[in-house]
Amino acid sequence: MNSQWEAVIGLEIHTQLSTKSKIFSGAATAYGAEPNTQACAVDLGLPGVLPVLNRDAVRKAVTFGLAIDAEIAPHSVFARKNYFYPDLPKGYQISQFELPIVGNGHLDIDVDGETKRIGITRAHLEEDAGKSLHEDFHGLTGIDLNRAGTPLLEIVSEPDMRSAKEAVAYMRKLHELVRYLEICDGNMQEGSFRCDANVSVRPKGQKEFGTRAEIKNINSFKFVEKAINHEIERQIDVIESGNKVVQETRLYDANKDETRSMRSKEEANDYRYFPDPDLLPVLIEESLKNEIRATLPELPDAKKQRFIDQYHLDNESATTLTSSRELADFYETVVKASGGEAKLASNWLTGDVLGALNKAGLEIGACPVSAERLAGLIKRIADNTISGKTAKQVFDKLWNGSDSADEIIEKEGLVQITDTGAIEAIVDKVIAANPVPVEQYRTGKDKALMALVGQIMKETQGKANPGEVNKMLIAKLKN
């Protein structure tokens, strides 16, 4: 970005709360059902129906509020947001306006080794709309109302971010948090976690904000960064060419990597909010807050710090290992089952295991190597039964089969040769058979040593400890 300009970014994130039934009706929320089979009379907005609030949606919202250290409104009020669109049959969305359930809170993000606090203005409960399908139905639009009434928690940040990188860091942190809290499954492909970004630019040093544009529909971490960067560049171009940024809603097109103006109706933002007379104020008692507070899991930041203190991990490994609750739990199970091999377990998990999962497109929950089986392997590395090199072979077999590490080591005869006499015999044999590299090494060509080590490892089928071999070889060649 041109250094005379500063970007100002705020995010609105819609998280779908993982309840079984809808926020105001007893219809199911499961994803992927046949169209309209999970849309009941309430969701369809038929005359005479009344909304009844889901207790679990309220609890999940309070859980989130407590986790970000926010004020929880003792009295919270639902409001009608009025607009006309066919996937919103009532003609209004039940949302919250003046008294949202979650007030001021914050989330800390790490960018380039620095910690920055991002303010969260509010988080409010609302119902999702249905889906419009614009494919060809003889020139008509198809409406699926299964999603109508699904509970959402809309989390609105302060305009505290100054780069696309910070915005992505915030979004990732929030994604991690809602999954830790088990209030949202975080599935972005299925739309459980969606992001709108408010972006403006201003000359560096200016206090007032520039005119902002809202970018809708950015549903992956990669696209958020690209879409925001693109929008910042666009606004700078507009201003530098002597024009003004228009306040509008823009849609990100991932295929073309650009944002474009949505044909916005003039009155699109005139929602005429008013308190919904069908719903009474929600009372959040101190006792409920205390009860939920007592059941909050260890949060990502606290867990990361504990991993650093307890397992002596570096910041980067601890960050990776605590990026999801499942991964952190997996790690701790491996450490425990391996008899406390915290460092080895961290290296293996952040290296080979995550690498293999990534390649296979799997999450830790679907890892073919269980924590116990991985611990079995780590124990054998720790007690020198196998070399690090052999361990990689064993890991491949753990990944592709069901044998334990011990069974694989036994069947394949991979036990490291610890008998010094046996290794010495091989070293002597290799020295005798390779006079040329031996002479080269003695005359100062250190590289020749590698050829000899290679020969010895080959002779031992990789079962000797390369460090030991190296030491023994140098000792012998110096004589």
Binding site: S21, G26, N36, Q38, A39, V77, G139, R263
Partner: protein
């Protein structure tokens, strides 16, 4: 506060209400009267009065998170003007 004819037309459009041109002035006068009443009420001293979100002095009851509805799609769709592949069909909307 008093409403102009244009305000009335805008409000009618937002609410998707069709009103006849000759009635616009009449509505503007009536609605302005309602707003005038609000302005007068606004002058009352409400210090120490908690704002009211609902006329009933009660709190919202909550229901357990359980699926209690069965699929009645076929039944509901008997009153829809047009359906296909389980979808309700409506005149084309482009955003």
């Amino acid at each position: 506060m008093s409403l102009t004819a244009n305000d009335v037309k805008k409000i009618a459009h937002l609410a998707r209400l069709g009103i006849a041109e000759q009635d616009v002035e009449h509505y503007a006068k009536d609605l302005s009267g309602v707003l005038e009443l609000m302005t007068r009420m606004d002058q009352l001293n409400t210090d120490g009065v908690t704002p009211m979100a609902h006329p009933l002095d009660q709190i919202q009851r909550l229901r357990e998170d359980a699926v209690t509805e069965i699929d009645q799609r076929d039944h509901f769709q008997t009153i829809a003007p047009q359906t296909e592949a389980g979808l309700y069909l409506v005149p084309k909307v482009i955003d």
